[in-house]
Symmetry: D2
Subunit: 416 residues, 4 copies
């Protein structure tokens, strides 16, 4: 969460951020039926309705209850239903049963949002009382909600994928015809570098402190691995040759029967995939997506390269402006011609561990990131499901190495 | 399914049965939100929406497609989505993923019902072409739908029970104040008796052939075991003393942590239970419900009695008129003062096996009952979730000994 | 256990039975190494060493402790280690960890046997004090041990089968060359018959009371189903066609990948099997063995027949003398030319339920059979791993429908 | 494996190392019965017999087969049975079934060892032909065997712990009476440091290359956490307060019911533990052992400290001579008064990842470490089950964060 201060002159920024973020969430669920909003296809994923309610609860729990005098929740039981994992905020509903909560229904949850939005407007209007602490919390709540926007659409894709009718979330649109983009590399010198957030502007606790790291000279690819590259790997028997794989990865791949990325199937000798814009032929020059860390690592080894560390990734791209194909662009799937930011998250070789000097904040929000720092791998770069405003070059997202349902791809690196 | 013939004079009965059955299903889901209709809380249970669609598919698949010239389904893919387990009717959607089908949505499924109802009306109107075979199939379809009405409400209860808010399906209504009904017994002579359906009127295949069985003299209780009885068992340590239990039953009870019937909890020294009419104190003189065969068997042994066989049950009650608390009565839970029929299904000591001479019919409908004849136990008597019209003294329902979510109770028997 | 009385004139029989039984067990383990005696390949199976100790504990617990004044166990902790499932005899070691008890070692267990055998000799020598109760218990202990002899060799076969070297228990011996035996049938009239043990001589509690059953006319095959028959079923696609199968059976077969009986594999177009006499080509005219109830039932349906009920089986063969290929014959596998008794147990269509009037004896030995009376199926006929002396026409053994590791085969029946 | 060269003058060292190592293994199993050598209590652990055979196979496969002309294995099937995880060395027996291989028996495996030792002696005697490559492989084989010595004794402890009789491996010996050792800290400056093996002498591939790391100033405790410390944590409710725990760790601890280290129990208000020298009261001033990474991490957070990184650990102790309580000392359990090396492995905060510039060697031995580089945590320091000769300050061992059966403890660190 927010380690930095939303300084005085940012005041006008926060209300606008709040409005934009809340509106964007509402826009994302506009095409959904009440039935769609119930889908929970695995414990890792949550129903869209739950995302709507949980992001609302976040503002209620951490801002309205402590700071808006006289605030009353429309239903005190929502605190139990819509807390995700904050143990210090009290008990919570079992994660794998979120899909079994039919009531509050869709209308109730929208009313809950409106109630909280109204109270937030009231609080924000009390300008003179808005301490930096409150503004920081609002900013954090917005970034939190942007993270859930990403989960909302990727969880939805996963949920819809179990429907044999493969429903379409957003109207299909053909992919542009493209030609192969050759793989080129950028070299970087080594030495003591600095990574991590410097404290100016918003960042999550785990992005700091900014700190020194010793890196060795390396080269990093100028584009992510594409579907075309991936099909070459598949055709070369990449999925069935244990020499390329981490032992644990090969065991998972064998047990799960993986022979291609998630959501792919073969039809008349062509590879197809299920996307938020319906079923489509795999676009050869778009970045490969929905591959696990295990697959990404195997691909890199097969390709005679490796995954970059997060320090390398951050160092290489810290000065590239954050432009690319993000959630706001509405493509809802990675597009050909991808550069650095957006389109797909890129698995790094770095486990998610605390930076030197990291200390989780006191209190409930100290649970935000710190308690996940084991067995997960860092990804960098943002995706077509990420809100652009959410991205920074220091941004670290993290997932388990077997997970595939996020917009997960990769970029190669090598020693020089 | 139907082994018997719906003879000529029954013709007016069938259209009326069809209308009543279809209307009753619609009435049952009237209080439900689209979200409620998505709930699937375990593989054994199905969403209400699925029940609506599957019972409709049954008419389409077995009657309209073969017998109504020119009939077209609104969506050919429904045959895949809404087939339950008829392998000879083609492939089908995985049972444990029925809750992940958000589309067709509620409105689509209702339109599907209307489409099929219209076509059925058309077919029924062609009176002169309605062979006994067709009439038999319609009757079977109605009985099939009545079975699914029972599942619909019990699956719904199970689904709602995972919601910490414990939503109410039908407006609560206090239980009548009652006093204990003493347990009395009726004795029956032994000898060669006959059980099973005699072929007059509708029955499922597994209810026949009518056949001779040798039974020994026995006594059977005049009322089911009540909650008051059950609490005595609980207070006597019944759940924790392995001597009363089948070994497998005790292992399941231990693993699942059973110390009371499903949906019970203790609150301020009183037992409460979750019902389709909301949370209520346990009604002491109502039949106990939501107990597994393992628990029923342990109770009977603890009580110095045993469960009746299905032959004993049928023999004892064959001449009692089918009157009692059924689905049509709308209590939605077993009521005090229960006699023979309705309120709760009664576990018998009989595994579900074929009667002598049983032969599953040829074709797809031969899968209706025969392929379940292993590891399940027969229950008799009907319940408050059973359509009264569906009941006969020869009716056999069957469930696994660990299952509890149906309206399952018991009645004692003993040797004399 | 023993419901009957070992009458006075049987006194000399019991000591001899005791000696023969104990010696036979020792003979069975003679070819085994200490390492072999540790094998526990699944929870259902126990190490040979455990069988040696448990059968010894049975005499100690139920006879020596109550009836031999001054008897002391060599180690009081053995009661915990070697009790199988008698909850009223005290706590016991977890069944699935029997293979983790390296000490007491083989030598210790043999010393334990000798200690108990010595004490038993002492007790038996006190002739005048040996009440019928004691003699009955000794007889029961011997029959109990014979049951464990059968488990010992079948558990051993299972344990050895996980060793890729496929070790040989007893020296290989080629199967006789045979020709197909045509399938013939014997017809039986129906009516009220009697089955069950009549109380003369030893029998287990679950074999009685002798009672009347109404059976319909039937025919039963004169020989079990052979490997030749089974291969025809396999070649006809029997394992992959769900129409022949119970739904639950097909699910198990699919999940486990069953395409042939346990211990079979194909090698150069020939079927081979692993036996206690090493790997051998499948003998075409020997009874098929190591098939589950699910498979047996599917075979019977495919063959246009059914499995007999246990009443039919007992009625048909009650007057056939108990002669056949038993454990004593040492073939250690079913042999061609099998008639009624021995070679393979035959799955019946009857779940294991109590006979009318059955009441488990008071006390610990009441746990012997009664607490298993759910979800298991009865087999009749005895096998090549069964001690001949143990068999009676009323003998009921019972296993779960998915189990295959016993010497399990089948015989067909049909209505006439 | 060996990246370095065993240079010419080391020649006499290798034969001696080989003899010592092989003899030590034999000595370790001397107190074991054939039954003990069969124990496999979980997939992670292997039978002692398997360790004996696998370490022998290693010499056969990687040295004798390629380098000793005319060498023949006593049994070609051993390559299948005793390969552990080298996929490029061919198929192998399932890891979780090693305990089901009763034959080859103990005597066969000892004969196999003698056969290979004889052939190795022959090869070693051919001094002039022993290229550095061969000497390096022998050295690697010895270090490999030392690793398996550690597994052998810890696997044995685990296996024996499932025996309710809690057998004693080595004669019990009382722990010395001790008083609490206060916790003191050593401070270290930060900056660019170097860690990793420098290539002189033996090391595994994963210990290099030696490389620069930037570390911040830190302090590290002068002794490991003791049982006394741990009991304070337990008494303070450390196991039940989620605020101290990684979320995943708390979930595992809850599911497994952890409330104390592995092998502990409470008896008359005193903590006892099962060791290779039998059951003993927990020695308060000995290092705590058999705690998972999750527990170690929670303890550190509760204590207001953290675990050191592996760079910090190596940097802090690189110049401490490798002296301490090792396998050779025969205590078989951690002893009070522990300093830096030996007694217990110390969990670090570092996931096991490749060092910059790491490249797994070509060929089968490239599988030695590299394919495990995910989801495991590094431990440093060696234990009372580690051969002293095996240790270096650069030595990295690695285990999953939930594992407890190795001699796993911890040491605290903090920022300064």
């Amino acid at each position: 969460m927010n380690q930095t201060n939303a300084v005085a002159q940012e005041v006008p920024y926060i209300p606008s951020l709040f409005d934009r973020t809340r509106t964007q969430t509402t826009k994302l669920v506009a095409p959904l039926l009440p039935e769609d909003m119930m889908l929970q296809s695995m414990e890792d994923a949550s129903p869209a309705k739950w995302h709507l309610a949980h992001t609302t609860w976040f503002f209620e729990e951490f801002i309205l209850k402590p700071f808006l005098p006289g605030y009353a929740s429309p239903d005190d039981r929502f605190a139990f239903l819509f807390n995700s994992y904050y143990v210090t905020a009290g008990p919570r509903h079992a994660r794998d049963r979120r899909g079994l909560v039919s009531r509050p229904d869709n209308a109730d949850v929208r009313a809950y949002r409106e109630h909280v939005d109204g109270a937030m407007a009231e609080l924000i209007a009390l300008e003179r009382d808005n301490t930096p602490e409150i503004l920081d919390l609002i900013e954090l709540g917005c970034h939190h909600e942007m993270q859930h926007q990403e989960l909302l659409v990727t969880d939805l894709l996963h949920g819809l994928s179990f429907n044999p009718l493969l429903p379409v979330y957003r109207e299909p649109e053909p992919m542009p015809v493209t030609t192969e983009v050759p793989l080129t590399w950028s070299r970087h010198d080594g030495g003591v570098i600095e990574i991590g957030h410097d404290g100016n502007g918003f960042a999550y606790d785990c992005e700091g402190p900014r700190h020194k790291v010793y890196v060795y000279p390396f080269a990093i690819a100028d584009r992510p691995v594409t579907n075309r590259d991936w099909i070459t790997f598949m055709d070369a028997g990449g999925y069935s040759d244990p020499r390329h794989w981490l032992m644990e990865g090969f065991a998972v791949a064998t047990k799960e029967g993986w022979t291609h990325p998630l959501y792919w199937w073969q039809q008349d000798d062509e590879w197809w995939t299920f996307t938020l814009r319906g079923s489509q032929p795999v676009a050869l020059d778009a970045p490969v997506v929905h591959v696990s860390y295990y697959e990404a690592d195997a691909f890199a080894r097969w390709a005679g390269a490796r995954l970059p560390t997060e320090a390398e990734h951050e160092h290489a791209f810290a000065h590239h402006p954050i432009r690319g194909n993000f959630l706001n662009d509405g493509t809802m799937r990675p597009m050909p011609g991808s550069g650095v930011w957006g389109d797909v998250w890129e698995w790094t070789a770095s486990p998610f561990t605390p930076y030197p000097g990291f200390k989780a904040p006191e209190g409930t929000l100290g649970e935000y990131n710190g308690k996940f720092m084991v067995n997960q791998m860092v990804m960098r770069g943002g995706s077509c499901a990420t809100a652009q405003e959410q991205m920074r070059s220091s941004y670290r997202t993290f997932f388990y190495p077997h997970q595939r349902w996020q917009m997960m791809g990769l970029r190669l690196a090598k020693n020089t």
